[in-house]
């Protein structure tokens, strides 16, 4: 057998190391020869062909298994430490040497991701809300992140979409009139909302004046209101009354202000006034606390006749008891967008639709909470300068003059496309554009300003001249100056200099370093300050983190690392989890983001990734977690009670939701998530032809019972011994992150379920099934009794948690997986961080200082 192995090693083309061959023969070959090949590994056939990625990965795995002591297995004779050191040392040196021979720079050439592209355009043109992502093809993902060079391919589809995106950007950026469109203040009433018949006529909402019933429109009682058209004709809904709403939005209906639609994309200031109260069969009483009103952005349909479901949420706002509170927010609205409204903190049930399902006495017979909107005011479009900065970026200080030529610039005429709004475009007299006396000189000057900003580095005269030549060609072809310049600006926005991260092969130059820093912490291009002082690392990292744009890093990194982008991938079963609502889901995501932000700001150590004495909560989450004393929709730091199971990512509802389907939880899925995302030890993929463990959706049999059968198979047991324990500990939490000691069940034999913190308006049809067993045993035979024990044991290994976080951040920051030869430097980052207390903010600084970050 020694001969066989020696032959195999020699066949690989490299000199066999005698200690290694002897080690394998003594300790490995019995199980990993051609006959047995346990774990599908035949060492006798394994060649030392390291240029083959698959082969290289196998050798790395062999190295890791020997180094960690996992191999040879414990039941076998332990090899002497010196032998282990010799063999892992040889493998380490050989693998690093092979990798360095093969690698041409750490990070491959990579383009901007969709979000990087959108943010770059937004910042470059000062168009902070332009929506471009949705028009670009979805990015792939490699090693956990979409900004990885292995995932960022490009096709003719991308190129076609980049041209469309560039056109959209230039349409919005270029001023076409000598003065800014007039800013208007429009005050809107929810009474003229979509659709008043549902809202008001049938009793889902009431009109109010001065916190009392509006006598002109008494609430529906024994008799409902009749003839909606008659009410509209008389102007009953046009009196700017406050509107109290009982009904939560659902799949078939959502409220929005249909008498406004932004005609001019831009900045708008929104003010909105809310309060809440308890409605008791015609009486207006103080509410149960501060309720949450949601404002969102709603896009009108193409035909302009109606709005879609909310595109995105602007925020959740306090609606205090019987006291109007005015909220002010600055927003960006795109063409044909308006605002949506929802009574977010009310129970998401149809029961609130009083009067339409046969209840007697309609609103006058109803008792329950209500959120009132006094009014919403939209002011805009707001311009502090004209022409806007986007225009100045492209045309500098060239004056806008009335066009006198023969071929005017081609533009899409502005027109009102929304049926029910009255904001028609202002009449524009003449065609206004830029017509410099010396167009080529102007083009050269403008491009000299624009190209370095767009390309994020100095641009040579030769490159700029190519663009100027194109301007010349377009002018000679008869285009006006604006059209000719637009042509080259579009070309620049579709060029590799704009679309790709341009990095030198070895050490990053100043511009590449600045770009790497800003795309890491801002998900966007560097600003002038960063381009000027990219090597002032500490100050720059602090500045970047302090800037609101750093929220993009938190959102994007957590969206992928902890899969928060998939939070809406499935909706919980409405019978099993009737208390689930969009407000709860948004609160979940907000918690995890705020928590990570808090870890950075307070520079807390990696133990906090899994265990902490505080959480970032609003009232919705606090009630969900069974924690009292939190009021309102704002997320804030809350100290946890001593016996509370929460604290750390593992027990956050967002993480618990993304690791479950809408019906059941699986320790396998959650266990694999913990191993891969928090411990940096992703499990092997399941072998082929092994059926997945199908949960009992009725809830009669626990997943643990099903897994026990699965683990009876020896081929499954070894992997599941590692995967399942974290998942077992997390069984204490259901698919929406609620704590449980018994599974919810739809099986008829279950016990009646207590209401707990579920809103009294929500009907409960689920029952309580089998008890949850959250105990388990690690692969190294340490036992835990439940989630608290498990978290304590996990948090004790701060080094492992920090090491994994460092690895995830380095992959994200550099756009490439951690190579074998990077391991030493990764360890150095972790060691330096630990030496300074192990804080996560310190970790970010150390990553930026490391050669891994500063070298391509």
């Amino acid at each position: 057998m020694i001969k066989l192995l020696a032959f195999a090693l020699l066949a690989g083309g490299l000199q066999a190391a005698e200690p290694t061959a002897a080690f394998f023969d003594t300790h490995c070959i019995d199980c990993h020869d051609a006959d047995t090949h346990k774990g599908n590994l035949d060492l006798t056939a394994l060649k030392q062909n390291f240029s083959d990625a698959e082969n290289f990965a196998k050798w790395v795995k062999i190295h890791d298994l020997i180094e960690s002591g996992e191999m040879p297995p414990k039941k076998k004779t332990r090899p002497p430490a010196a032998d282990v050191s010799a063999v892992t040392g040889w493998l380490n040196d050989t693998l690093i040497k092979a990798e360095k021979l093969d690698a041409a720079g750490r990070t491959g050439v990579r383009r901007l991701t969709r979000s990087e592209y959108e943010n770059t355009v937004r910042d470059l043109f000062d168009l902070p809300g332009i929506a471009l992502q949705a028009g670009l093809p979805a990015d792939g993902s490699a090693h956990g992140f979409d900004n990885n060079s292995d995932a960022l391919d490009i096709s003719h589809v991308n190129l076609a979409r980049y041209i469309e995106a560039a056109d959209k950007t230039l349409d919005m950026a270029i001023a076409t009139r000598p003065t800014a469109p007039a800013s208007e203040i429009v005050r809107l009433s929810l009474a003229r909302n979509y659709e008043p018949d549902i809202m008001l006529m049938q009793g889902d909402a009431i009109l109010l004046r001065d916190k009392k019933i509006d006598p002109v429109f008494p609430p529906a009682g024994e008799y409902g209101h009749v003839n909606q058209g008659a009410h509209e004709q008389l102007g009953i809904f046009d009196r700017m009354s406050s509107v109290g709403v009982f009904r939560h939005e659902d799949e078939s209906w959502n409220a929005y202000f249909r008498h406004f639609a932004a005609l001019y994309p831009g900045r708008y200031r929104v003010r909105a006034s809310f309060y809440s109260f308890q409605w008791d069969q015609g009486k207006i009483l103080p509410s149960r606390g501060t309720e949450a009103a949601r404002l969102s952005v709603v896009q009108f349909n193409d035909n302009g006749r109606g709005g879609q479901h909310p595109s995105y949420v602007l925020g959740y706002y306090d609606a205090p008891s019987l006291e109007s509170k005015v909220h002010s927010l600055d927003v960006w609205l795109n063409y044909k967008e308006t605002l949506g409204f929802n009574v977010a903190s009310l129970a998401p049930v149809v029961l609130y639709r009083v009067g339409t399902w046969g209840q007697k006495d309609r609103t006058m017979g109803f008792t329950g909470p209500c959120i009132a909107n006094d009014w919403v005011e939209i002011e805009g479009p707001l311009h502090d300068v004209w022409p806007p900065r986007s225009h100045t970026l492209l045309f500098g200080d060239l004056p806008l003059t009335e066009f006198k030529g023969t071929r005017p610039p081609v533009r899409k005429p502005l027109k009102q496309e929304v049926v029910s709004t009255r904001n028609k475009p202002e009449l524009e007299k003449g065609i206004w554009t830029m017509e410099p006396a010396e167009p080529l000189a102007a083009a050269d000057r403008l491009l000299a300003e624009f190209l370095p900003k767009a390309f994020r580095r100095p641009v040579g005269d030769d490159v700029r001249q190519q663009y100027v030549t194109q301007v010349d060609a377009r002018l000679k072809a008869g285009d006006c100056f604006e059209t000719a310049m637009r042509w080259v600006y579009r070309a620049a926005l579709c060029s590799p200099d704009f679309l790709y991260h341009i990095e030198p092969t070895d050490k990053l130059d100043d511009q590449a370093l600045a770009a790497r820093l800003s795309y890491f912490l801002w998900n966007s291009a560097p600003d002038a300050e960063l381009l000027q002082h990219p090597r002032d690392f500490h100050a720059q990292v602090e500045r970047l983190l302090k800037d609101p744009k750093s929220q993009r890093f938190i959102d994007d990194f957590l969206g992928q690392w902890l899969k928060l982008h998939a939070i809406g991938a499935n909706d919980p079963d409405k019978k099993l989890y009737p208390e689930f609502s969009p407000y709860l889901q948004d609160s979940m995501v907000a918690e995890t983001r705020a928590y990570f932000r808090e870890l950075i700001e307070q520079n807390l150590d990696a133990g906090n990734l899994v265990q902490s004495d505080f959480a970032m909560l609003n009232e919705k989450l606090a009630v969900h977690y069974g924690i009292s004393g939190v009021s309102g929709p704002a997320i804030r730091r809350v100290a946890l009670p001593k016996d509370c199971a929460r604290g750390g990512f593992l027990t956050q509802a967002a993480v618990l939701k993304v690791t479950a389907n809408g019906t059941t939880t699986s320790p396998v899925v959650r266990g694999a998530f913990v191993m891969a995302r928090l411990l940096g030890k992703p499990p092997e993929p399941p072998p082929p032809n092994i059926p997945a463990v199908e949960p009992d959706v009725q809830g009669a049999t626990t997943i643990r019972e099903l897994l026990d059968k699965h683990r009876a198979d020896a081929s499954c047991a070894s992997c599941h011994a590692k995967i399942d324990p974290p998942g077992f500990a997390m069984e204490s939490f259901d698919v929406i992150g609620g704590f449980r000691d018994r599974y919810r069940s739809l099986h008829e034999k279950g016990d009646p379920a207590p209401r707990g913190s579920i809103d009294p308006k929500i009907p409960i049809s689920f029952k309580l099934g089998p008890k949850v067993d959250a105990s388990g045993q690690f692969a190294d035979e340490r036992k835990f009794g439940g989630i608290a024990d498990f978290k304590t044991m996990l948090a004790a290994d701060k080094h492992q948690l920090l090491h994994n976080l460092a690895q995830q951040l380095v992959i994200y920051a550099t756009g490439r997986d951690i190579a074998f030869s990077d391991r030493a430097e990764l360890n150095n980052i972790v060691a330096r961080t630990e030496k300074q207390g192990g804080g996560i903010r310190t970790l970010l600084h150390e990553i930026v200082l490391s050669p891994l970050f500063q070298t391509r």
Binding site: F217, P218, Y223, V226, N227, G229, H231, Q233, L234
Partner: protein, 179 residues
């Protein structure tokens, strides 16, 4: 000749405005009288001369020069054109809640009075909604509604009857109070 035209013009300026008398649909209850007066004020050159809630009749004074956009004194507009213009302006001013119709040709002693008790009409919009459901029916000469949800209609018995009115109300989802 020029002097003669001037004299005629001056005389015309001091003549009383032209007059147009109509039956009006939309006067559902007394408070609507004021609505009508306010809305007529927005009509160019038009004012309410008389308004009789009991008969639902209105007399409008108008200045044809202001009323008709293309007024030409040499070719004064026909009565039908004036009426169409008044109807159009009132419809716009009142958002369609008032409609001018020709005066009733049926003597009042030939009208039959019907009273229909509805369930609850404590809202101005609902009362108007119930009223308009029957007021526009063929054969209904006039109607009113009050805060006690009592609908009163004066009908031409040759054209309609109580059953037809109640059927229309039910179709409009107005609940009737049965004795």
């Amino acid at each position: 000749m020029k002097h003669l035209l001037l004299i005629f013009s001056l005389i015309a300026l001091h003549l009383p405005a032209d007059e147009s008398k109509h039956r009006i649909i939309g006067l559902s209850e007394p408070s609507r009288e004021q609505d009508l007066r306010e809305q007529v004020k927005t009509m160019p050159g038009v004012e309410v001369a008389t308004l009789n809630f009991d008969t639902a009749e209105v007399t409008l004074h108008y200045d044809p020069a202001k009323l008709m956009p293309s007024y030409n004194p040499k070719h004064p507009p026909k009565t039908e054109a004036i009426t169409r213009r008044l109807e159009e302006l009132l419809r716009v001013a009142s958002n369609g809640t008032f409609t001018l119709v020709p005066l009733s040709t049926l003597p009042s002693d030939k009208l039959q009075k019907l009273e229909i008790q509805c369930g609850l009409l404590d809202c101005l919009g609902c009362r108007y909604g119930a009223y308009i459901t029957i007021a526009k029916l063929d054969g209904v000469e006039r109607a009113t509604v009050n805060e006690n949800a009592l609908l009163t209609a004066w009908i031409d018995p040759a054209k309609t009857n109580r059953e037809a009115l109640e059927a229309a109300l039910k179709k409009g989802r107005v609940e009737l109070k049965t004795p």
